[in-house]
Subunit: 434 residues, 2 copies
């Protein structure tokens, strides 16, 4: 027997029913904000990632030479692809461009809880606005997705930070500091011990004293951003931008989910302004649930015009979001639902098929026998698919012009004249005829 | 500027809106029959295809060695994967197993009209019934998808055939015939000249005379299957099975879409019984739109129990189905739709955001300004996204406790008291207040 590949998932119907409910909720939320669905290729030229993404992603790339001798890669993330698509039509697309999509991505990582080599992610992005309102709308759509799934402010928090605050603070030290490397150190700060964190900052070019001052500053800034401006005026524009985003988030009704957290930096190099990560507010899930932020320089770097951008990317299947939903007790039920099972007894296929068709035309989920099975076997199957109502179409009943409705919850049955079913009823059940 | 890979598509929102309408229709149809959604990996061990699929697929495989040294392949089709999944849980899954999914697949083919290297396909399969009703249900769900999309019997036909009729006819000749190769020749019969077709049959082991007799027999059988039984009794079970499937299709209301076409054979080796292909009834699109059939031996060949199976796989994006829908004039409109644009004038973000939120809570698509733009620029944008109603939230109006509704079709406007909007209205428009 063949086995699937490690880090890739087979999702069976019960589990998929739960995922589908989650995907529908978050996609409907994005649609409600006017984000428009796009579809994107699973494969891109490998150099797109090698040139632009962080080294972490390149190390995990599924890259290979295709039959035409081209170096290609399975997409490990969407941003380079949407950047390419925006750049290709930057002139003709009305701004802001608001796009979403939900699809799998691939990274050769070591599988662990909530982390797979194939994972499904939704990407929601706004291109063409540098205003704080755009950052706040991204926070709002992200928060609305989670509240739409049944989570509240006790369940999750958005830890909000700003790349330029980190950058200006780092640059303000009298040191030859590699800002990009130092920001990567900040990104790791929650995962490592204090000494290791300081060590990483020193490796990036700060002295020991400067590194400790920097760590203290971030801590103080979380309580009062003015402390940072007092340290160096250079952070003032970034501080004002971050404050404006949080003010807009208040107007958009999602300020309560946002916590100032300057230690949040995001792992990818291309972020430029506000960045944020969603965390389990109870701390049971230690890794970030998802994240997002502003990346104003990326479109231009792909050959497009200068076009500011901000986005968020919640994981769906094979990610940490299901863990949070399960932890909070709002994971949708993993169960099949069926409105009707049309049960055939004897040679009644034509009538049973007509009834099934009429019920389907009313938008219901209707199964019927395709295996030539006995009454008992059909009833057992109807039970296994959680059919609400069984419509029994029997030869003898039909001779009397009747069918029988069985309520599967109670087991009660009632005879119904064939010419009254389904008749004018949109969703006829036992109760309508009892 | 980077370019995407040849044979892969970037799908922008307008086009995607049409695809989404198509996907929703065909998925809803499958759900209505009780097919359950699954999700499946994009990658499988390469040997799964090398061992089991036809050589045509292996030649087109995107196969490579992953970072762990394993030979892997991007999935060129779903059947081996679902066979693996069914085999892995064959005992516990209630039968029949009815699954569907919609997702991309990859084949290194030469791109042409309606054929891409990345294409989206829906797979709909029933496992665990060898009854003709199961074959007919697959025909019915396939036909209902197309009629649901607005096609009728003048637009498409299912050319229905039977692998065992072909096989038994071929075996009935006194010749050492390679049945598999001969069936591949039948599969090509519509694409090549008569002489080449006969030549391929001769290569498979028939004499010239036998090949011509075989071709004539198929032609005669299309008019009257009894002609085949008269030639050899060995085809009788297959003829009876095919007739029973068509009888069931009649009860299921889809017989009118089915044409007997024994030249239809399907390219893949694993089919065993009834096979069919959907064609443009007007012949404008010469290639098959999609196909399906019975493959009773495949699950066992993957190490599972003996479990009969039948399925159909309509292409969606990057396939021939959109060509048929366009040819028939039922391709959904490629346009954005927006229920409301909430336009801000002056410092009214808090009120505008509250209104936008209330309208979204009623299930509407609502955009608002995130770019700090002028009245005129906002109105132009609202027009570009086809907003039906613009809600103008202006500073001066608000001072009078009013907002303004603008119907974008007519350009008419009406003032509305702020505290009545949206109020009890589920979908308030100009007409409600004019």
């Amino acid at each position: 027997m063949y086995e699937g590949i490690k880090g890739f998932s087979d999702v069976y119907p019960e589990e998929m029913a739960a995922y589908r409910a989650v995907i529908d909720t978050i996609e409907d939320t994005a649609r409600g904000y006017g984000f428009r669905e796009i579809a994107t290729p699973a494969m891109e030229p490998a150099e797109m990632y090698i040139d632009k993404s962080g080294e972490e992603i390149v190390e995990e790339l599924y890259a290979f030479e295709d039959r035409g001798g081209r170096q290609v890669a399975l997409t490990p993330e969407l941003t380079p692809t949407v950047a390419r698509m925006v750049a290709a039509r930057a002139q003709e697309l009305p701004k802001p461009i608001k796009w979403f999509s939900t699809r799998p991505f691939w990274r050769y990582e070591e599988p662990q809880q909530g982390r797979f080599r194939e994972f499904y992610q939704m990407n929601v992005d706004i291109f063409g606005s540098e205003e704080p309102d755009a950052d706040a709308e991204i926070l709002a759509v992200g928060a609305d997705m989670l509240t739409g799934l049944g989570l509240d402010a006790d369940d999750f928090e958005f830890r909000v930070s700003h790349r330029d605050i980190l950058g200006e603070l780092l640059r303000s030290f009298d040191a030859d500091v590699d800002v990009r490397e130092a920001i990567r150190a900040v990104d790791k700060s929650e995962k490592v011990e204090y000494n290791e964190y300081v060590g990483l900052l020193v490796e990036a070019g700060l002295s020991d004293d400067q590194a400790e001052t920097f760590v203290d500053l971030l801590d103080a800034g979380n309580d009062d951003l003015d402390e940072l401006v007092a340290f160096t005026d250079d952070v003032e524009p970034a501080v004002e931008n971050l404050s404006a985003v949080l003010d807009a988030a208040a107007d958009f009704g999602v300020r309560e989910y946002c916590t100032l957290s300057l230690e949040t930096a995001r792992g990818l190099d291309y972020y430029t302004g506000v960045v944020f990560e969603c965390f389990d507010a109870e701390g049971e899930i230690s890794r970030a649930i998802f994240g997002g932020g502003r990346y104003d320089d990326l479109i231009e770097s792909y050959g497009g015009p200068s076009l500011p951008a901000v986005g968020v990317a919640p994981g769906v299947m094979n990610s940490t979001l299901p863990l949070l939903l399960q932890r909070a007790g709002v994971w949708p039920e993993e169960a099949l639902t069926t409105d009707y099972y049309v049960l055939r007894v004897g040679d009644t296929r034509d009538v049973a098929a007509r009834i099934a068709r009429q019920l389907r035309e009313r938008g219901h989920v209707v199964e019927s026998d395709v295996s030539g099975r006995s009454f008992g076997a059909q009833l057992g199957y109807a039970d296994s698919i959680n059919a609400e109502t069984v419509v029994i179409v029997g030869e003898r009943d039909l001779a009397d012009g009747e069918i029988t409705l069985r309520d599967m919850d109670s087991g009660e049955q009632v005879g119904v004249p064939l010419d009254e079913f389904p008749g004018d009823h949109e969703r006829p059940t036992f109760d309508d005829f009892a």
